[in-house]
Amino acid sequence: MSREFRPAIGTPASPDFGERSGEKVDLHIGQWKDGRWSYLFGDDTEYRTPPTQVPDIEAIREAAREAREGELPDVVQGPVINAPVWTWEVPLYFWFGGIAAGSSFVALACDLAGDEDSARVARNVALAALMPSPPLLILDLGRPERFYNMLRIFKPRSPMSLGAWALSAFGGLAAAAVGADLLGRRREAKLLGGANAIVGGYLGSYTGVLLASTAVPVWGRSRLFLGPIFVSTAAATGAAATRLALVATGLPVGHPTRRALGTVETAAMSAELILSVINERRLGPLASGLEHGRPGKLFKAAKWAVRAGLGLRFARKRGGPGVHHVASLLYLAAGLMFRYAWVGAGRVSARDDRAVAEMHRAETHGT
């Protein structure tokens, strides 16, 4: 008798391919008989206690508790988790997406304050900042040609799924708002811009939620701070970019919108700096990713850029308006460095086996 090698599914390229043929193949055994204990583990061996005895479940649980609670052993033989695979495209997207979201806030605020011309510029900035985002995200995929699978399902529990939908909605609304501006339909542009600011609220913050919802210590343990930090960066960089765009289009010194944008960028960047410093102190050894290597250097540089910007902001009276433009540029640069530092810190943190193990030990202590 010759051996049979037919697969259990239909012949490739035939109409029934991919369907169960209904026939059993030679190897088919219906039940997992051979998986159901080899002779080694039969009742006549001493492998386990016989079925007639009832094992003491409390003693078994106690043994597990003893091994999993208490102090970390001297040696952690890693790796415990795999490091994130995201490359330079992702933090750059975070930066552009943040600017787009921040500009949509500014557009809404300009409309509320009655400055329709500035609102139009802000909507243009939002669209311009959004444009590089989809290509960057697609570039980062392992299979870029399958990018459309991001919109295959709507999955509320996955921040990345919601983010992909938010990005699509934001892109559509931003383009429609700019289109309405071009057609001179102010009312529609205002409405679309307002709707976009709501989507922008998610677009500017979900990236923080996305990073926080991982097993990487420096991200996961910053879960209450990452969203607020990323929103602050979005508001600050969005305001700074819009401010520079407005200056370029000839908004005069002392215009209320220009002053308001100066206040917003400075306040948001201060909030980001304060939150970052508090979070870093709070994390202790788990913040290793933000302190060592290239991400650590970037994080430090970003904090100094913010401080320099704040200094220039208050020195402005002597230096004239040019100094304030430098401050806006410094905030934009700081935002970009913060983004790179946060994403890079995840890689360093995931490779810090002790930090990863320590994080989970702390959980068993209930802290």
Binding site: P55, D74, P79, A109
Partner: protein, 298 residues
Amino acid sequence: MTEIAIERDDAQRMGFFTDTTVCIGCKACEVACKQWNDLPSDGGTFRKGGSYDSTGRLSGNTWRHVRFVELADAGGGVQPDEMPDLVATAAGNGSTIDVEAAVAAFDNWVFMSDVCKHCTNAGCLDACPTGALIRTEFETVVLQPDVCNGCGYCVPACPFGVVDRAPEDGRAGKCTLCYDRLEDGLEPACAKACPTDSIQFGPYDELVDVAERRVAALHARGVEGAYLYGAADAPEQQLAGGLGAFFLLTEKPERYGLPAQAESPIQENVVPATLAAMGAGLLAAAGVAAAFLWEKSR
């Protein structure tokens, strides 16, 4: 919150019970897995002064990994100078191995065949934005390679460091518990190949029963450090809601690169993180509007 799942009435939860006390570190499971699933090599190397473990870790192309836990100086780990230089020995120059000492040192080795845990609360499955990762009728977690676009979110979402993106393929990869073999009533390739039945495959409930009886037998024989990792825990102690592939260990979990506690990071963090982010977003929006209105009224 519901998962994307395949339902079938006559299917039950299947799993692995990996008993490290009978593992001999032969790596037959790794080879069987690579062969059946047609996976390329990750390019293992022996490192002087490092570990004998030439695989290193689970990855997109390595779905079973026999971890070598070297206890050379009991509890302190292996010191680099305690390892014979295998490369030099093979090349016939320099150090030779003291066979007697090496055989005696086998007592100080523990092997553990690591694999995807097929968690009840699976972080990768929660993270996947495309729906490539699904729950099968055997309550295992399977990645559909024809859907995955390689976004990489499942990689840091796994608290066990299992799933990874294969660099030359671009898609994520991990153990499927041989879903294709299960559908035809065959046990997974690694369990089939395991010569000591350290890897046992079967219906989850039966496996847990056998595992509990094995721990009881070991305790009775004086191996008091034996415990189950991922099964039979009290509800508040469960790892990621209970592991479909669980282990019998004798050292602390971190010696095997396993976390002492684990949960799907999505289920753990997404709600508090979103609330904090939305609160901050509302504050920021109110702050921006307030700054504009204040400047206007000045």
